[in-house]
Structure formats: structure tokens, C-alpha cells
């Protein structure tokens, strides 16, 4: 479904991502692991068209998309819930969700359905629908960011550290919700520090180190890999 072929990305003269190959099949949950600054968000930003790659190509459903503008990529069905959430902080929760459905703006009925679906996944958003997004707690903002991404009915959902800032109990719930979204037919590419929980729901993973892929394999393989285990999973 999505393929990154020998992708390199630079910030000025600094190469943040080098010769990366990633393959995501339809229906999968794929996780990118790696410590701070390894290059996960850079890969996500490049897929979404916010950064331009300096080498390689990105192919989605058979078409090269690495020269497309970010809004065009969203229209293809690749939607990102980005690092830093990027919410509209002075709009209400409801308005934020509505903006998430921007590409379906002509289809009122569809928007209503998506809205109900998001409210079902995150009941707190329904409760707070008339509050300003900027007035939510960090965890609630994270839920809103994911909810807003779902409103566009993505085929491929990119989640950049969805568990960040969430209480341990909520993290567990969040991963269950991600699994559910995937079961409902959305392919998911996930960046995570929380390797243990992420590998539990993922089909396969890539481990980033200094902008390159150090290890890759199925979740079982990564669990079994001693180095990975020591570095990212702990005990």
C-alpha cells in the first residue's frame, strides 16, 4: 500500500533520514521504534508532504506521491496525527472535528456518521464538545488530535507517538482503540517510544537509529531480538 524506497531527508546540510526502506501492506499495523531524534517524525512529515525528500521515492497504491502537496496527500487518504497535535486551539472540540472532515465537506451525512464514531471511541470529546481545544488537558488534546484525523476517514493513518503524555491506564486504552480502528479497516503506521505496548498490537516494526533502519522484522522477531529488547523494551 505504502512504500518508501531509499528515502533520504535533509534539514539544510544535516541528513536526518538516510536510505530508508519501509513497506506497509493494506490492513497492517506497522510500528517505527527509535529513541529521541532517531528520525521517526521526519519520516512521517515526509510522507505527509510537509518535508521534501532529497533522495528516493514514496509510492502509495502504485503512484509516486513524493512531489504532492500535503493537502493532496490527505485527499488520497493518508492522514497524519502529528507530533505536537497541531490542533486549532481557539476553536471548540466540535469545530476541530468538523475541520478534520474538510475533504468530505460536501457530504453532511458522512460527517455526521464519522462524528458519532469518534464520539463513541472518545466519549470525553462528546462531553467537552463545546470547550475550546486549547482548554483541554494534554491527554484529551491527544484524543482530539486522533479524532480529528479519523474524521477524514483515512485509508492510511499515521500516528506520531499517540501515547505521549497519557496516564499509564489510558495508554493501554489508547492502544486498544488503535487496534479497533485498524480492525475497522484502516491501515496504521505508528511511531512509538512505548515499544512494549506498540509491538503488542503491531504486525511488524522498524527500529530507527540515527536516521537509518537498524533492525526490522515481525513483532515476534523484534520481541525476541536481544538488542531491541535491551534498548527499547527493558526488562
Amino acid at each position: 500500500m505504502l512504500e518508501l524506497r531509499n528515502v533520504s531527508v535533509q534539514y539544510g546540510s544535516f541528513t536526518a533520514v538516510q536510505n530508508v526502506n519501509i513497506h506497509v501492506h493494506e490492513g497492517e499495523i506497522v510500528v517505527l521504534l527509535g529513541s529521541n531524534g532517531a528520525g521517526k517524525s521526519t519520516v512521517f512529515r515526509t510522507i505527509s508532504g510537509l518535508n521534501k525528500l532529497s533522495k528516493g521515492e514514496i509510492v502509495f497504491k502504485g503512484n509516486r506521491i513524493d512531489r504532492y502537496s500535503p493537502d493532496r496527500i490527505v485527499q488520497l487518504g493518508i492522514v497524519q496525527c502529528a507530533e505536537g497535535r497541531k490542533l486549532f486551539s481557539r476553536m471548540t472540540v466540535y469545530e476541530n472535528l468538523l475541520m478534520g472532515a474538510y475533504i468530505h465537506r460536501k457530504e453532511k451525512e458522512k460527517i455526521k456518521q464519522s462524528l458519532n464514531h469518534v464520539y463513541e471511541l472518545f466519549p470525553i470529546l462528546k462531553e467537552k464538545r463545546n470547550d475550546l481545544a486549547g482548554a483541554l488537558s494534554g491527554g484529551q488534546q491527544q484524543m482530539l488530535a486522533i479524532g480529528r484525523a479519523l474524521m477524514s476517514r483515512p485509508k492510511l493513518l499515521l500516528l506520531d507517538e499517540p501515547s505521549i503524555g497519557l496516564a499509564p491506564l489510558i495508554v493501554e486504552q489508547m492502544f486498544q482503540i488503535i487496534k479497533q480502528i485498524n480492525k475497522e479497516g484502516t491501515t496504521i503506521l505508528l511511531a512509538e517510544q512505548n515499544a512494549h505496548a506498540a509491538l503488542h498490537i503491531a504486525h511488524k516494526g522498524y527500529v530507527f537509529e540515527n536516521g537509518t533502519i537498524a533492525v526490522q522484522g515481525t513483532s515476534q522477531e523484534l520481541f525476541a531480538n536481544d538488542n531491541v529488547h535491551k534498548a527499547y523494551i527493558g526488562t
Partner: protein, 288 residues
Amino acid sequence: MEFFIQQLLNGLTVGSVYSLVALGLTLVYGILHIPNFAHGALYMMGGYVTLTMMSKSGLPYWLAIVISMIVIGTLGVLLERLVFYPLRDAPPLHDKIAAIGILLFLEAFAQFVWGADYQTMPTPYGKVVNLFGLTLTAQRLLIITSTIAIMVLLYFFLKKTFIGATIIAMSQNREGANLVGININKVAMMTFMISGSLAALAASLASPINLVFPGMGHLVILKAFVIIILGGMGSVPGAIIGGYILGFSESLGATYISNDYKDIIAFVILVIILTIKPTGLFVRRGQS
């Protein structure tokens, strides 16, 4: 008492013009994140285009205004495409310098084409009307009513339509807007179009009272800056309310203090408000 109400009406008239100019300025601020110093020059050009349409092409006042709004809106879009868009990744100082450059260019252009003289703009609404025992010219009534009508339209556009909301979304989070599938280039162009049209409308409405000349935008734009600082940079309701507060203060100040000091009032208010509430009057909770 009647005299007082008369002054309030004057304030409403002046405030309407200020609000229209400040609205355009605040919308573009949300997109560029710099104050557009060239906005006063767009106002001035709007006055001249309307005047020329009336005197050279013999068009009626209303039609001249509509054409002027389209011309100046398009000029705004051109500025966005040719000047501000190429500078999008440059440091903010470059935008500011470019805006000042546009201002100087447009003023020199106006002087070259239309001359430096003060010109009067005729209006079909010169008659004096009586309204609940108050007397005012039909032109003032026109300024007040059409401004309110435009603001209501703009409110619905920004608040109730998806396309309008993209402007607000982009001003609050540019990448966030991009990531929900909004084409931010289109939004930027649309915003400059609206901003330019509002400036042209304001100038066309005010000119029959204030005359048309190359420097007509100076004082107006300075005051519009005061207004958007008062109202909170980028805030739409702030620009509207700030515009009227300034209009009223000036008109009451001119009556009860001195007409000579009325243009200073804006800056006195600015100093007072920034001392008491440095973030501006209308910064809402949740704003980062």
C-alpha cells in the same frame, strides 16, 4: 443629550471605517504573522480606483465601489503571490521590509498617475436625513449600515462555512490546516482578496467625507494597528470592537476635549491599555 447622541453617531461612522480596515489587517496578520504595512496603501488605491471609475468612466457610485473592491482584492492576491509567497521561508523581517517597499511603491505610483492633489469624491448620498430627531447625512447612514451588513456576512462566512473556517484554521495552526487537507496557498490568496476588498470598501465609503490623496492611508493604517493591538493581533471580534471603541473615543474626545487632539487619542488609549493589559483586550483562554 441629543448632542451626545449625535456624537455617538459620528463615532459609529468613523468606527465603521476603522473596523473595516482593521478587519482586513487582522485577517492577513493571521496568515502572514506579520502586520501588513502595505494595507494602508491598498486603502488609498481603493479610494482612487473608485474615484476614477466614477469620474472617467461615469459609473454610478455603487458599481464603482464593487469594481474597486474587485481590483484591490486582486491587487492583494498579486502581492501575496509575487511578494509574500516567495518569502514564506525567509525570516519575518524580510516580510516587513517587503511590505514597506510595497507601501512606498504604491504611493509613488498613485502620485504619478493621479497627482498629489486632494480630490473630492462625489456621492449621491449627500442629503441630510432625519432619524428619530437626529440629523445626519445619508452618506453616514450608508457607511454605518453597509459596514454592519458586511460584518454580518463575514461573520457567517468565517463561522458557518467550511471555506471561511479555513482562514481561521490556518491562522491558528498552519500545519494543522495543511494536515486536514486544506490547501494553504488558496487560503492565503482568498484572505488577501477579502482583506483588499475590505480596504477598498472602507476607502470608498469614507472618501466623500475625507477626500482622496496619496497619503490618505497613513493615519488610517496607524490607527488600524492600534486597533488590532488593542483587540489582540489576529482576533476578528477584537478588530471590530476595537474599531468602534476608537471611533467613539475620537468623536467624544473631539467634542469634549479638543478637535485638535482627536488623532492623538488612539495612541493615548494604546499606551493606557498596554500598560494595564499587555496582551490586548480580547485574548481568549486557550490561546497560546
